[in-house]
């Protein structure tokens, strides 16, 4: 298998630039080419402009400033020859067959003989793309269909043609999986592949059914959003997000390529309202508004929705469904009146259409479910939804709706998925259940949990044996907030692993590693004035962190998503971090008027004081840590967490979420060989002079209006810890001293009214209060 080292993307539109960014995020140099704009003096203007724009785009396509430097802009007139050393060239130019083929002919002339060429087309069949191209080109050609935005959408649809070299397809799949972090779904060379084929049909059905049945956009989205487990935006909200103007293009391309017998044609009805909205610039969130908008007229901020009947905006109406209908698909479809009718019509059509796509678009049902989960953010794919509704109920509903039953549904003899001896299986086209195979190097806690029982479990966490002597500590509370249960389980895990195992991995498969301490409990205790309880809990947390850090076995934390406050402190006390690339870590306690209470301050200080290349002396490390913690800075990627030194040099980043646990386990086992716990930290700190220096800077921010009076109070508490309290430059400060200072500062702050107001506000709104 050849290796992919050098890459290029031709076409610097939103998709091409975003793909180049993700390649750079993975640490690979990439060339990004586009045409020379007519009459341009700066010949690379388009590609260079795309790179510059990405630095300012939110959500950020780039994970770090360093990644931007890995993208080299160029143009297709001067620089095509420079692609001769590329191992993989991705074409992401305009969806125009002659233009693409003209580019391919030029690429065929310069590419090295082993290089792969792929198209990011979403509409043109592979067979058409390689028609009349040299046989050797066709052998190295495939479709790699990324989803927007390429950094955040995990789906990659991979299409090989009859001529494509299977080994090369494997090479690209492996690279896209491991380096780019994508989940690969193999698709047949059929129009729209999988996700858009079904997704567009579903959206189109959703719009038409709402119009025909007389639902408001809010009603339609309330039915099709949360209750079905589809993004809470629902269909109209999703179209706003994607852009209304895209719909006619995608519909037209599917209409042109799908056979006349396809049910899509019946759903491809022109909607005059959408045409009018596009003409008026109401293209969704990127335009002046969409089906929803925020009306800022007269300084007010009124949420509005469009009336589908009249086409005018009116204030948004909130829709509440009966509780049972939000959990039970059957109950949802049995709702009286138009709401139930809507659920029935959209779901039956969508599920029946999905069943039709096997084997036309995909080899088996798992590909379709995976594509919808990852490409459209559905919680469950269509076949999982059918299992949820029940096979018989689905069949009955489809027939009642007057649709014919697709063979796959008619012939299914049982649920599409089942668990057999802890192994998840799916129903194949052959009528036999097959085990769902995870790619090599993929280890999922969900699979382990299906097998058996945890080693231990309480209200907030569980311990799992993940094999080879490694234990996984899983957080299980809501949003993985940390409380006494978590602390107890950390202590239990240390005791258990010490006796029976080699290493501990801290990992879970929630959306977030941990959002930090359970503020609700802290507020409750504060309102009860249970100060000594709070301090005891704090001390217990500090002990648990030290227990992790000085345990006689290695501890590897494997975060993904948010790792905030206490969640970040757990990372800081681990021997190693193996982070998913999409890790958002930071010590955010100051935002709620507190200071890190579980040793986060001392650990960050140790990381910065030990940093090579940094200016030496008592203050530079303090000033850096002070700035980060006092402003509650959160890293927007694992790469940024490394810049903040939350990740140390030896710590690893895993691009593919599904590979995180296996990578963390491997790291833990490597560390377990001749493991010795770290030496205790000893600091030399400047004492009160250092504190004053930090506060002089903080007061400057206060005068500039960038910090509040209470921010200063919190900053002073933090400065007191960082500078070592009353210590002297000639003395040493031990870890325990700093933990005491932390505890004292925390207890001082939590007794203040503005801090409690901040906590309350954050609990209620999820946002910080500036007081």
């Amino acid at each position: 298998m050849s290796e992919i080292r050098k890459l290029a993307v031709v076409g610097a539109g939103v998709m091409g630039a975003g793909i180049a960014a993700q390649i750079a995020n993975a640490g690979y140099p990439v060339r990004l080419l586009d045409i020379v704009p007519p009459g341009a003096t700066e010949r690379n203007a388009i590609a260079a402009g795309a790179i510059a724009r990405m630095a300012k785009t939110e959500p950020a396509p780039l994970m770090s400033a360093h990644a931007a430097k890995l993208i080299t802009p160029g143009n297709t007139e001067d620089d095509l020859e420079s692609l001769a050393d590329c191992d993989w060239i991705i074409e992401a130019v305009i969806e125009d067959l002659p233009i693409k083929q003209a580019l391919y002919r030029r690429l065929a002339a310069v590419r090295k003989s082993t290089a792969a060429i792929s198209s990011n087309t979403s509409t043109i069949p592979l067979a058409a793309l390689v028609k009349d191209m040299p046989a050797d080109f066709a052998r190295h050609f495939m479709i790699t269909h990324f989803f927007n935005p390429p950094r955040y959408m995990r789906l990659l649809e991979l299409v090989g043609g009859s001529a494509t070299d299977p080994a090369l397809l494997e090479t690209i799949a492996a690279f896209a999986d491991r380096a780019l972090g994508k989940s690969i779904v193999r698709c047949k060379d059929s129009p729209g592949f999988i996700a858009n084929r079904l997704g567009v049909y579903w959206m189109q059905m959703g719009v038409l059914a709402a119009l025909d049945l007389g639902l408001s956009v809010e009603e339609a989205d309330a039915v099709m959003g949360r209750p079905v487990g589809i993004p809470k935006t629902g269909i109209f909200g999703l179209i706003d997000l994607v852009g209304l103007d895209l719909m006619p293009h995608i519909n037209a391309s599917l209409a042109a390529t799908l056979p006349q017998s396809d049910p899509f044609h019946a759903a491809n009805r022109d909607v005059p309202l959408i045409g009018r909205m596009i003409r008026e610039g109401l293209t969704g969130r990127k335009g002046k508004g969409g089906f929803y908008r925020l009306n800022r007229a007269q300084g007010a901020r009124v949420k509005e929705a469009i009336d589908l009947a009249t086409g005018t905006y009116r204030p948004e109406i909130s829709v509440t469904l009966p509780a049972v209908a939000t959990r039970d698909l059957g109950a949802l479809m049995s709702l009286p009146g138009k709401l139930g009718a809507y659920a029935r019509r959209v779901l039956t059509h969508t599920l029946a259409y999905a069943a039709m796509l096997v084997p036309e678009a995909a080899e088996d049902i798992t590909a379709i479910d995976e594509a919808m989960r990852l490409g459209y953010n559905w919680k469950q794919g269509p076949f999982e939804l059918i299992d949820r509704l029940g096979l018989a109920a689905t069949r009955a509903a489809i027939e009642q709706e007057g649709l014919s039953l697709p063979p796959l549904l008619a012939g299914a003899k049982g649920p599409f998925y089942r668990s057999q001896h802890g192994i998840q299986q799916y129903l194949g086209r052959d009528g036999v259940y097959h085990a769902i195979q995870r790619p090599a190097g993929v280890l999922l806690l969900a699979d382990i949990k299906r097998h058996g029982k945890p080693l231990a479990k309480n209200s907030a966490a569980a311990l799992w044996d993940i094999g080879d002597g490694v234990v996984c500590l899983e957080f299980t509370s809501k949003m993985n907030a940390l409380d006494q249960g978590t602390v107890a389980m950390i202590e239990q895990s240390v005791a258990r692993v010490r006796e029976e195992f080699k290493a501990l991995v801290i990992y879970n498969e929630g959306a977030n590693f941990s959002v930090g301490a359970n503020l609700g409990l802290a507020l409750f205790a504060a309102n009860m004035a249970a100060w000594s309880e709070i301090e005891k809990t704090l001390a217990a947390g500090q002990r648990a962190m030290l227990a992790l850090k000085y345990a006689p076995f290695p501890v590897v934390a494997a975060p993904a998503g948010m790792a905030l406050g206490g969640g970040c402190e757990i990372l800081l006390h681990s021997d190693a971090i193996q982070a998913h690339a999409e890790t958002y870590a930071g010590l955010v306690e100051c935002g709620v008027g507190l200071v890190p209470g579980w040793g986060g301050t001392k650990e960050m200080l140790a990381r910065w004081q030990g940093a090579a290349k940094a200016p030496q002396g008592p203050m530079p490390a303090l000033a850096q840590v002070f700035e980060m913690i006092s402003t509650a800075r959160v890293a927007k990627s694992a790469a940024e967490a490394r810049e903040m030194r939350i990740l140390r040099e030896g710590d690893g980043i895993t691009m593919n979420r599904d590979r995180l646990l296996a990578d963390a386990k491997a790291r833990a086992l490597a560390l377990a060989v001749h493991y010795t716990p770290p030496a205790e930290l000893v600091f030399t700190l400047p004492g009160t002079s250092g504190k004053l220096a930090l506060m002089l800077a903080a007061e400057g921010f206060y005068r500039q209006g960038l910090a509040t009076q209470h921010d200063l109070r919190v900053a002073e508490a933090l400065a007191g810890i960082l500078s070592g309290g009353e210590t002297d430059l000639l003395d040493t400060c031990e870890e325990a001293n700093l933990l005491t200072l932390e505890r004292e500062a925390f207890m001082r702050l939590i007794r203040t009214t503005p801090t409690l107001a901040r906590i309350e506000h954050t609990l209620e709104t999820g946002k910080p209060l500036r007081n």
Partner: protein, 378 residues
Amino acid sequence: MHDVLIAAYARSPFTFAKKGALARTRPDDLAAAVVRGLLARLNIDPATIEDLILGCAMPEAEQGLNLGRLVGLLADLPITVAGVTVNRFCGSSMQAVHMAAGQIALGAGEAFLCVGVESMSRVPLMGYNPLPNPALHAKYPAAYISMGETAENLARKFKISRAEQDAFAVQSHARAAAAQRAGHLSAEIVPITTKSAMVEHDGCIRPDTTAPALAALKPAFTSDGSVTAGTSSPLTDGAAALLVCSSDFAARNKLTPLARVRAVSVAGCAPEIMGIGPVAATKKALARAGLDISAIDIVELNEAFASQAIACMRELGITEKKVNLDGGAIALGHPLGATGARIVGKAAALLQREGKRYALATQCIGGGQGIATILERV
């Protein structure tokens, strides 16, 4: 008493800290390059120089140790030429001139290199390790007051409007740009060779600055204040050097000196309005020279902040027509340790160019001080 002459003046280009062309040049190298450039313009035996007196406001890290001695060695001066470093913050290299003048008057040497340097890219404003004394801060907080705050204090005390400050800054840029176009700045500049380029021009001047553009800036130091980044001198990298000598030395070496030092002074003032320091210092120096302010034809008044410069002009009763003819620090930049040598050299050069008799060079100093030098054309 021996006559003390400003015999020659040169400086590096002044460029923005961090983003400017000199950001990656070590301050010791920068100062040494200017010393070499100055000596290259003179036909003197370097072994006849007594001492290299170097001013620097944050003498640590790359500008630490005894920078004066190290710059001498870097510039390949004979090892017999001594070297000393002096710190009076922004007044450091003007202080170097005063020390040279004193030594000459004392008969303790005939020729001195008075040098100033600051790399505000490579050593931060407060230094890397600020460790203020908590007891002093408790007793006298203004000892550590930020410079921006002092500028705001003066704007308030002297009721200097935002518009006045903006107009002053616009004029500073306009004059600097005009001087640049006329070649008056390149005449004093020693080009600096860096790893990536030859740097020949000042980098901070914004010839197109307008009052409306400046009016759009937010206050830089206090949310309700009037001092902005546009009416403050920018963080700057730069170095300047003078040859200060006795009249005998000048005659022996056939030098064409620019000016004679008539009087010098330093004075303290309240730290919270340090920007007014030039007033007391100037008054002292005028009295020592036996001159009235009206006798002064040329003024180089350092523009740490527009508000501070305007306050000093009002208090001293000097008009804009005489002040900073080629622009001031708001436009040119203010590499702290280098500014004193620059404005003394500039004032001396302007006396020659304009054919005037008396010049005043004066500046304010953090912590609450002023420093002044009165020159007479020779």
